[in-house]
Amino acid sequence: MRALLVISALMAAIWASLIALVYLVEALIMRWVALSLLRSVLGMTAYAAWVAAWYFTLMRIARRVLKRAPDLSAR
Protein backbone atom coordinates (compact mmCIF):
# COMPACT_ATOMS: atom_id res chain seq x y z
CA MET A 1 0.00 0.00 0.00
CA ARG A 2 3.07 2.24 0.15
CA ALA A 3 2.75 2.87 -3.60
CA LEU A 4 -0.86 4.03 -3.24
CA LEU A 5 0.08 6.45 -0.45
CA VAL A 6 3.19 7.86 -2.14
CA ILE A 7 1.58 8.35 -5.57
CA SER A 8 -1.65 9.72 -4.05
CA ALA A 9 0.40 12.26 -2.08
CA LEU A 10 2.17 13.28 -5.29
CA MET A 11 -1.14 13.62 -7.13
CA ALA A 12 -2.54 15.75 -4.31
CA ALA A 13 0.53 18.02 -4.46
CA ILE A 14 0.18 18.40 -8.23
CA TRP A 15 -3.54 19.15 -7.87
CA ALA A 16 -3.06 21.75 -5.14
CA SER A 17 -0.19 23.45 -6.95
CA LEU A 18 -2.24 23.62 -10.17
CA ILE A 19 -5.14 25.32 -8.40
CA ALA A 20 -2.67 27.75 -6.79
CA LEU A 21 -1.06 28.44 -10.18
CA VAL A 22 -4.39 29.05 -11.91
CA TYR A 23 -5.33 31.47 -9.13
CA LEU A 24 -1.96 33.27 -9.26
CA VAL A 25 -2.04 33.63 -13.05
CA GLU A 26 -5.52 35.13 -12.84
CA ALA A 27 -4.75 37.36 -9.82
CA LEU A 28 -1.37 38.64 -10.99
CA ILE A 29 -1.10 38.38 -14.77
CA MET A 30 -4.69 38.66 -15.99
CA ARG A 31 -5.58 41.45 -13.58
CA TRP A 32 -2.47 43.61 -13.71
CA VAL A 33 -1.07 43.20 -17.25
CA ALA A 34 -2.98 45.40 -19.68
CA LEU A 35 -1.56 44.16 -23.01
CA SER A 36 -3.42 41.06 -24.27
CA LEU A 37 -0.45 39.53 -26.10
CA LEU A 38 1.83 40.00 -23.10
CA ARG A 39 -0.81 38.39 -20.86
CA SER A 40 -0.89 35.36 -23.16
CA VAL A 41 2.90 35.05 -23.29
CA LEU A 42 3.29 35.39 -19.51
CA GLY A 43 0.39 33.02 -18.85
CA MET A 44 1.75 30.38 -21.24
CA THR A 45 5.23 30.75 -19.72
CA ALA A 46 3.85 30.24 -16.22
CA TYR A 47 1.91 27.10 -17.21
CA ALA A 48 4.85 25.73 -19.22
CA ALA A 49 7.19 26.33 -16.25
CA TRP A 50 4.75 24.50 -13.95
CA VAL A 51 4.59 21.52 -16.36
CA ALA A 52 8.38 21.42 -16.73
CA ALA A 53 8.97 21.71 -12.97
CA TRP A 54 6.60 18.83 -12.20
CA TYR A 55 7.94 16.73 -15.07
CA PHE A 56 11.54 16.94 -13.87
CA THR A 57 10.48 16.43 -10.23
CA LEU A 58 8.51 13.30 -11.15
CA MET A 59 11.30 11.85 -13.27
CA ARG A 60 13.77 12.45 -10.46
CA ILE A 61 11.53 10.84 -7.85
CA ALA A 62 10.82 7.91 -10.19
CA ARG A 63 14.53 7.27 -10.87
CA ARG A 64 15.30 7.43 -7.13
CA VAL A 65 12.49 4.98 -6.32
CA LEU A 66 13.62 2.59 -9.07
CA LYS A 67 17.23 2.73 -7.90
CA ARG A 68 16.17 1.68 -4.39
CA ALA A 69 13.96 -1.19 -5.62
CA PRO A 70 15.09 -4.64 -4.42
CA ASP A 71 17.19 -6.62 -6.91
CA LEU A 72 15.24 -9.86 -7.23
CA SER A 73 17.88 -11.51 -9.40
CA ALA A 74 20.12 -11.68 -6.30
CA ARG A 75 17.59 -13.89 -4.43
Binding site: A3, W15, E26, M30, G43
Partner: protein, 337 residues
Protein backbone atom coordinates in the same frame (compact mmCIF):
# COMPACT_ATOMS: atom_id res chain seq x y z
CA UNK B 1 -28.96 13.62 -7.59
CA UNK B 2 -28.81 11.65 -10.87
CA UNK B 3 -32.03 12.14 -12.86
CA UNK B 4 -34.33 9.33 -13.95
CA UNK B 5 -33.44 10.01 -17.60
CA UNK B 6 -29.72 9.68 -16.85
CA UNK B 7 -30.24 6.47 -14.89
CA UNK B 8 -32.48 4.99 -17.61
CA UNK B 9 -29.98 5.86 -20.33
CA UNK B 10 -27.10 4.36 -18.37
CA UNK B 11 -29.16 1.23 -17.68
CA UNK B 12 -29.98 0.93 -21.40
CA UNK B 13 -26.30 1.19 -22.36
CA UNK B 14 -25.29 -1.23 -19.60
CA UNK B 15 -27.83 -3.83 -20.78
CA UNK B 16 -26.56 -3.61 -24.37
CA UNK B 17 -22.90 -3.84 -23.32
CA UNK B 18 -23.62 -6.77 -20.98
CA UNK B 19 -25.49 -8.69 -23.70
CA UNK B 20 -23.23 -7.74 -26.62
CA UNK B 21 -19.80 -8.35 -25.07
CA UNK B 22 -19.97 -12.19 -24.92
CA UNK B 23 -21.29 -12.24 -28.50
CA UNK B 24 -18.42 -10.03 -29.67
CA UNK B 25 -15.93 -12.20 -27.75
CA UNK B 26 -17.30 -15.32 -29.47
CA UNK B 27 -17.18 -13.62 -32.89
CA UNK B 28 -13.58 -12.44 -32.36
CA UNK B 29 -12.51 -15.93 -31.30
CA UNK B 30 -14.26 -17.38 -34.35
CA UNK B 31 -12.27 -15.16 -36.72
CA UNK B 32 -9.06 -15.82 -34.79
CA UNK B 33 -8.77 -12.23 -33.55
CA UNK B 34 -7.18 -13.17 -30.20
CA UNK B 35 -4.13 -12.02 -28.24
CA UNK B 36 -2.11 -13.74 -25.52
CA UNK B 37 -2.83 -12.55 -21.99
CA UNK B 38 0.87 -12.28 -21.18
CA UNK B 39 0.58 -11.99 -17.40
CA UNK B 40 -1.07 -15.38 -16.93
CA UNK B 41 0.43 -18.89 -16.80
CA UNK B 42 0.41 -20.45 -20.26
CA UNK B 43 -0.35 -17.07 -21.88
CA UNK B 44 -3.98 -18.00 -22.78
CA UNK B 45 -5.36 -16.53 -26.00
CA UNK B 46 -8.16 -14.05 -25.23
CA UNK B 47 -10.56 -12.40 -27.74
CA UNK B 48 -9.43 -8.90 -28.66
CA UNK B 49 -11.11 -5.59 -29.65
CA UNK B 50 -13.66 -5.43 -26.84
CA UNK B 51 -14.08 -1.81 -27.93
CA UNK B 52 -16.55 -3.10 -30.52
CA UNK B 53 -18.95 -4.03 -27.68
CA UNK B 54 -18.49 -0.61 -26.06
CA UNK B 55 -19.20 1.12 -29.38
CA UNK B 56 -22.28 -1.04 -29.96
CA UNK B 57 -23.56 0.01 -26.52
CA UNK B 58 -22.75 3.72 -26.81
CA UNK B 59 -24.15 4.56 -30.27
CA UNK B 60 -27.79 3.40 -29.74
CA UNK B 61 -27.71 5.07 -26.33
CA UNK B 62 -26.74 8.37 -27.96
CA UNK B 63 -29.60 7.85 -30.46
CA UNK B 64 -32.00 7.27 -27.55
CA UNK B 65 -30.65 10.43 -25.92
CA UNK B 66 -31.59 12.47 -29.01
CA UNK B 67 -35.08 10.94 -29.00
CA UNK B 68 -35.51 11.83 -25.32
CA UNK B 69 -33.96 15.30 -25.67
CA UNK B 70 -34.10 16.57 -29.28
CA UNK B 71 -32.52 19.85 -28.12
CA UNK B 72 -29.29 17.93 -27.42
CA UNK B 73 -28.87 16.93 -31.09
CA UNK B 74 -25.72 19.06 -31.60
CA UNK B 75 -23.92 17.71 -28.51
CA UNK B 76 -25.03 14.12 -29.15
CA UNK B 77 -23.99 14.24 -32.81
CA UNK B 78 -20.60 15.64 -31.76
CA UNK B 79 -20.06 12.86 -29.23
CA UNK B 80 -21.13 10.19 -31.72
CA UNK B 81 -18.71 11.49 -34.37
CA UNK B 82 -15.81 11.82 -31.92
CA UNK B 83 -16.46 8.32 -30.58
CA UNK B 84 -16.69 6.90 -34.12
CA UNK B 85 -13.43 8.54 -35.23
CA UNK B 86 -11.46 7.33 -32.20
CA UNK B 87 -13.05 3.88 -32.37
CA UNK B 88 -12.16 3.46 -36.06
CA UNK B 89 -8.54 4.55 -35.47
CA UNK B 90 -8.34 2.02 -32.64
CA UNK B 91 -9.97 -0.73 -34.68
CA UNK B 92 -7.53 -0.25 -37.55
CA UNK B 93 -4.69 -0.44 -35.01
CA UNK B 94 -6.17 -3.61 -33.49
CA UNK B 95 -6.05 -5.39 -36.85
CA UNK B 96 -3.06 -3.69 -38.45
CA UNK B 97 -0.60 -2.26 -35.93
CA UNK B 98 0.03 1.46 -36.49
CA UNK B 99 3.19 3.26 -35.36
CA UNK B 100 3.01 5.32 -32.16
CA UNK B 101 3.33 8.61 -34.04
CA UNK B 102 0.80 7.65 -36.73
CA UNK B 103 -1.76 6.54 -34.15
CA UNK B 104 -1.38 9.75 -32.14
CA UNK B 105 -1.62 11.88 -35.29
CA UNK B 106 -4.80 10.06 -36.34
CA UNK B 107 -6.39 10.54 -32.91
CA UNK B 108 -5.85 14.29 -33.34
CA UNK B 109 -8.54 14.07 -36.05
CA UNK B 110 -11.09 13.15 -33.39
CA UNK B 111 -11.32 16.80 -32.29
CA UNK B 112 -12.56 17.89 -35.74
CA UNK B 113 -16.24 17.02 -35.07
CA UNK B 114 -16.12 19.26 -31.98
CA UNK B 115 -14.71 22.19 -33.97
CA UNK B 116 -17.17 21.58 -36.82
CA UNK B 117 -20.11 21.43 -34.38
CA UNK B 118 -18.95 24.69 -32.81
CA UNK B 119 -18.96 26.29 -36.27
CA UNK B 120 -22.39 24.90 -37.22
CA UNK B 121 -24.16 25.27 -33.83
CA UNK B 122 -22.22 28.07 -32.05
CA UNK B 123 -25.02 28.65 -29.51
CA UNK B 124 -25.32 25.00 -28.48
CA UNK B 125 -21.69 23.86 -28.78
CA UNK B 126 -19.72 26.56 -27.01
CA UNK B 127 -15.98 26.15 -26.63
CA UNK B 128 -13.54 27.97 -24.40
CA UNK B 129 -13.72 29.45 -20.90
CA UNK B 130 -13.28 26.20 -18.96
CA UNK B 131 -14.52 26.04 -15.38
CA UNK B 132 -11.81 25.96 -12.73
CA UNK B 133 -11.89 25.84 -8.92
CA UNK B 134 -12.14 29.13 -6.99
CA UNK B 135 -12.26 31.38 -10.09
CA UNK B 136 -15.12 29.92 -12.11
CA UNK B 137 -14.77 30.54 -15.85
CA UNK B 138 -11.13 30.90 -16.88
CA UNK B 139 -10.09 33.55 -19.38
CA UNK B 140 -8.20 31.47 -21.94
CA UNK B 141 -8.26 32.60 -25.53
CA UNK B 142 -5.04 31.88 -27.41
CA UNK B 143 -3.90 29.02 -25.14
CA UNK B 144 -7.30 27.30 -25.31
CA UNK B 145 -7.28 27.09 -29.10
CA UNK B 146 -3.63 26.03 -29.14
CA UNK B 147 -4.37 23.17 -26.74
CA UNK B 148 -7.73 22.19 -28.26
CA UNK B 149 -6.30 19.48 -30.60
CA UNK B 150 -4.96 17.72 -27.49
CA UNK B 151 -8.28 17.92 -25.62
CA UNK B 152 -9.55 14.73 -27.29
CA UNK B 153 -6.33 13.05 -28.48
CA UNK B 154 -4.71 13.56 -25.06
CA UNK B 155 -7.27 11.64 -22.97
CA UNK B 156 -7.60 9.02 -25.73
CA UNK B 157 -3.88 8.26 -25.78
CA UNK B 158 -3.23 8.40 -22.03
CA UNK B 159 -6.17 6.05 -21.36
CA UNK B 160 -4.72 3.77 -24.03
CA UNK B 161 -1.27 3.84 -22.42
CA UNK B 162 -2.61 2.72 -19.01
CA UNK B 163 -4.65 -0.13 -20.52
CA UNK B 164 -2.07 -2.66 -19.35
CA UNK B 165 -3.84 -5.09 -17.01
CA UNK B 166 -7.22 -6.81 -16.90
CA UNK B 167 -9.99 -4.46 -15.79
CA UNK B 168 -7.86 -1.35 -15.27
CA UNK B 169 -9.11 0.62 -18.29
CA UNK B 170 -12.90 0.18 -17.75
CA UNK B 171 -12.69 0.42 -13.94
CA UNK B 172 -10.48 3.53 -13.78
CA UNK B 173 -12.35 5.36 -16.55
CA UNK B 174 -15.71 4.40 -15.01
CA UNK B 175 -14.61 6.13 -11.81
CA UNK B 176 -13.40 9.17 -13.78
CA UNK B 177 -16.63 9.34 -15.82
CA UNK B 178 -18.77 9.03 -12.69
CA UNK B 179 -16.74 11.80 -11.07
CA UNK B 180 -17.25 13.97 -14.15
CA UNK B 181 -20.98 13.20 -14.22
CA UNK B 182 -21.47 14.06 -10.54
CA UNK B 183 -19.29 17.17 -10.99
CA UNK B 184 -21.62 18.52 -13.70
CA UNK B 185 -24.49 18.17 -11.21
CA UNK B 186 -22.49 19.94 -8.53
CA UNK B 187 -21.61 22.83 -10.87
CA UNK B 188 -24.81 23.30 -12.87
CA UNK B 189 -28.32 23.56 -11.47
CA UNK B 190 -29.72 21.64 -14.47
CA UNK B 191 -30.91 18.17 -13.31
CA UNK B 192 -29.91 16.74 -16.73
CA UNK B 193 -26.39 18.23 -16.61
CA UNK B 194 -24.62 14.89 -16.69
CA UNK B 195 -26.80 13.18 -19.29
CA UNK B 196 -24.10 13.28 -22.01
CA UNK B 197 -21.94 11.01 -19.84
CA UNK B 198 -24.70 8.49 -19.04
CA UNK B 199 -24.15 6.34 -22.19
CA UNK B 200 -20.45 5.90 -21.35
CA UNK B 201 -21.11 5.16 -17.67
CA UNK B 202 -23.65 2.50 -18.64
CA UNK B 203 -21.47 0.95 -21.35
CA UNK B 204 -18.53 0.63 -18.95
CA UNK B 205 -20.72 -0.86 -16.18
CA UNK B 206 -22.06 -3.51 -18.58
CA UNK B 207 -18.65 -4.25 -20.08
CA UNK B 208 -16.49 -4.36 -16.91
CA UNK B 209 -17.58 -7.86 -15.73
CA UNK B 210 -16.04 -9.37 -18.90
CA UNK B 211 -12.77 -7.45 -18.76
CA UNK B 212 -12.07 -7.69 -15.01
CA UNK B 213 -9.48 -10.20 -13.88
CA UNK B 214 -9.35 -12.85 -15.34
CA UNK B 215 -10.42 -11.13 -18.56
CA UNK B 216 -12.70 -12.91 -21.01
CA UNK B 217 -12.13 -10.17 -23.58
CA UNK B 218 -9.34 -7.61 -24.03
CA UNK B 219 -10.23 -3.97 -24.83
CA UNK B 220 -7.84 -3.33 -27.69
CA UNK B 221 -7.08 0.21 -28.80
CA UNK B 222 -10.63 0.35 -30.19
CA UNK B 223 -11.85 0.31 -26.58
CA UNK B 224 -9.31 2.53 -24.86
CA UNK B 225 -9.15 5.22 -27.57
CA UNK B 226 -12.95 5.32 -27.79
CA UNK B 227 -13.40 5.75 -24.02
CA UNK B 228 -10.63 8.35 -23.64
CA UNK B 229 -11.85 10.40 -26.62
CA UNK B 230 -15.44 10.30 -25.32
CA UNK B 231 -14.34 11.64 -21.92
CA UNK B 232 -12.32 14.42 -23.59
CA UNK B 233 -15.19 15.47 -25.87
CA UNK B 234 -17.76 15.36 -23.06
CA UNK B 235 -15.47 17.52 -20.92
CA UNK B 236 -15.20 20.09 -23.76
CA UNK B 237 -18.98 20.17 -24.20
CA UNK B 238 -19.64 20.63 -20.47
CA UNK B 239 -16.68 23.01 -19.84
CA UNK B 240 -15.25 20.55 -17.31
CA UNK B 241 -11.82 20.19 -18.93
CA UNK B 242 -9.99 20.94 -15.66
CA UNK B 243 -12.05 18.37 -13.73
CA UNK B 244 -11.53 15.70 -16.40
CA UNK B 245 -7.79 16.36 -16.30
CA UNK B 246 -7.75 15.80 -12.53
CA UNK B 247 -9.92 12.67 -12.81
CA UNK B 248 -7.49 11.21 -15.37
CA UNK B 249 -4.36 12.18 -13.42
CA UNK B 250 -2.97 8.62 -13.03
CA UNK B 251 -3.32 8.16 -16.80
CA UNK B 252 -1.64 11.52 -17.50
CA UNK B 253 1.22 10.81 -15.07
CA UNK B 254 1.78 7.41 -16.65
CA UNK B 255 1.77 8.91 -20.15
CA UNK B 256 4.23 11.65 -19.17
CA UNK B 257 6.59 9.17 -17.50
CA UNK B 258 6.57 6.74 -20.44
CA UNK B 259 6.91 9.39 -23.16
CA UNK B 260 9.63 11.18 -21.17
CA UNK B 261 11.63 8.04 -20.46
CA UNK B 262 11.55 6.66 -24.03
CA UNK B 263 11.95 10.19 -25.44
CA UNK B 264 9.00 10.24 -27.80
CA UNK B 265 5.84 8.51 -28.94
CA UNK B 266 6.58 4.83 -29.41
CA UNK B 267 4.23 1.92 -29.89
CA UNK B 268 4.74 -0.44 -26.92
CA UNK B 269 5.64 -3.28 -29.26
CA UNK B 270 8.49 -1.12 -30.61
CA UNK B 271 10.08 -0.68 -27.18
CA UNK B 272 13.25 -2.73 -26.75
CA UNK B 273 12.70 -3.45 -23.06
CA UNK B 274 9.63 -3.90 -20.89
CA UNK B 275 9.13 -1.84 -17.70
CA UNK B 276 7.94 -4.97 -15.89
CA UNK B 277 9.49 -8.43 -15.46
CA UNK B 278 7.39 -11.57 -15.09
CA UNK B 279 8.82 -13.85 -12.38
CA UNK B 280 8.65 -17.66 -12.64
CA UNK B 281 5.63 -17.68 -10.26
CA UNK B 282 3.93 -15.12 -12.56
CA UNK B 283 4.22 -12.31 -10.05
CA UNK B 284 5.40 -9.02 -11.52
CA UNK B 285 8.52 -7.06 -10.57
CA UNK B 286 9.94 -3.69 -11.66
CA UNK B 287 12.58 -3.91 -14.37
CA UNK B 288 16.09 -3.08 -13.16
CA UNK B 289 17.23 -2.02 -16.62
CA UNK B 290 18.19 1.62 -17.10
CA UNK B 291 16.88 1.46 -20.67
CA UNK B 292 13.39 0.18 -19.75
CA UNK B 293 10.55 2.74 -19.91
CA UNK B 294 9.48 4.32 -16.61
CA UNK B 295 5.77 3.74 -16.07
CA UNK B 296 3.33 4.06 -13.18
CA UNK B 297 3.22 0.26 -12.94
CA UNK B 298 7.00 0.06 -12.69
CA UNK B 299 7.00 2.61 -9.83
CA UNK B 300 4.21 0.72 -8.03
CA UNK B 301 6.23 -2.49 -8.34
CA UNK B 302 9.41 -0.76 -7.17
CA UNK B 303 7.60 0.43 -4.03
CA UNK B 304 5.39 -2.58 -3.25
CA UNK B 305 6.57 -5.40 -5.51
CA UNK B 306 6.70 -8.13 -6.45
CA UNK B 307 2.92 -8.29 -6.87
CA UNK B 308 0.39 -10.40 -8.72
CA UNK B 309 -1.29 -8.89 -11.78
CA UNK B 310 -4.50 -8.48 -9.78
CA UNK B 311 -2.70 -6.64 -6.95
CA UNK B 312 -1.12 -4.18 -9.40
CA UNK B 313 -4.50 -3.63 -11.10
CA UNK B 314 -6.13 -2.94 -7.71
CA UNK B 315 -3.51 -0.28 -6.94
CA UNK B 316 -3.98 1.40 -10.32
CA UNK B 317 -7.76 1.46 -9.84
CA UNK B 318 -7.16 2.76 -6.28
CA UNK B 319 -5.20 5.67 -7.77
CA UNK B 320 -8.13 6.24 -10.14
CA UNK B 321 -10.44 6.42 -7.11
CA UNK B 322 -8.16 8.99 -5.42
CA UNK B 323 -7.97 11.18 -8.56
CA UNK B 324 -11.75 10.92 -9.03
CA UNK B 325 -12.25 12.16 -5.45
CA UNK B 326 -9.89 15.05 -6.18
CA UNK B 327 -11.93 15.81 -9.32
CA UNK B 328 -15.08 15.93 -7.18
CA UNK B 329 -13.32 18.22 -4.69
CA UNK B 330 -12.37 20.47 -7.63
CA UNK B 331 -16.02 20.62 -8.69
CA UNK B 332 -17.05 21.59 -5.16
CA UNK B 333 -14.55 24.46 -5.33
CA UNK B 334 -16.00 25.81 -8.61
CA UNK B 335 -18.35 28.76 -8.01
CA UNK B 336 -21.97 27.66 -8.69
CA UNK B 337 -23.14 28.22 -12.26
Amino acid sequence: MVSTAEASLALFAAAIAYLATPLIARAMRAIGHVRPDVHKPGRPLVPYSGGVALYIAITPSLLLLVLLHPSLLPQTTTLALVATTAFLVGLVDDFKVLGGLTKTALTLLAVLPVVAAHAVWPAQVQLGRPLVPVLGRLRLTIIYWLLLPLAVAGPANVVNMLDVFNGVMPASTLLATLALMISTHVIYSDPQAGILLAPLVGALVGYLPYNKWPARILNGDSGSLLVGAYIGAAALLTHTEFIAMIALMPHILNGALVIGSVRGLKEHRAMEERPVRILPDYRLAASRSLRAPISLTRIILALDGPLSEREVAMRLVGLGAVSSLMALASALLVPRW
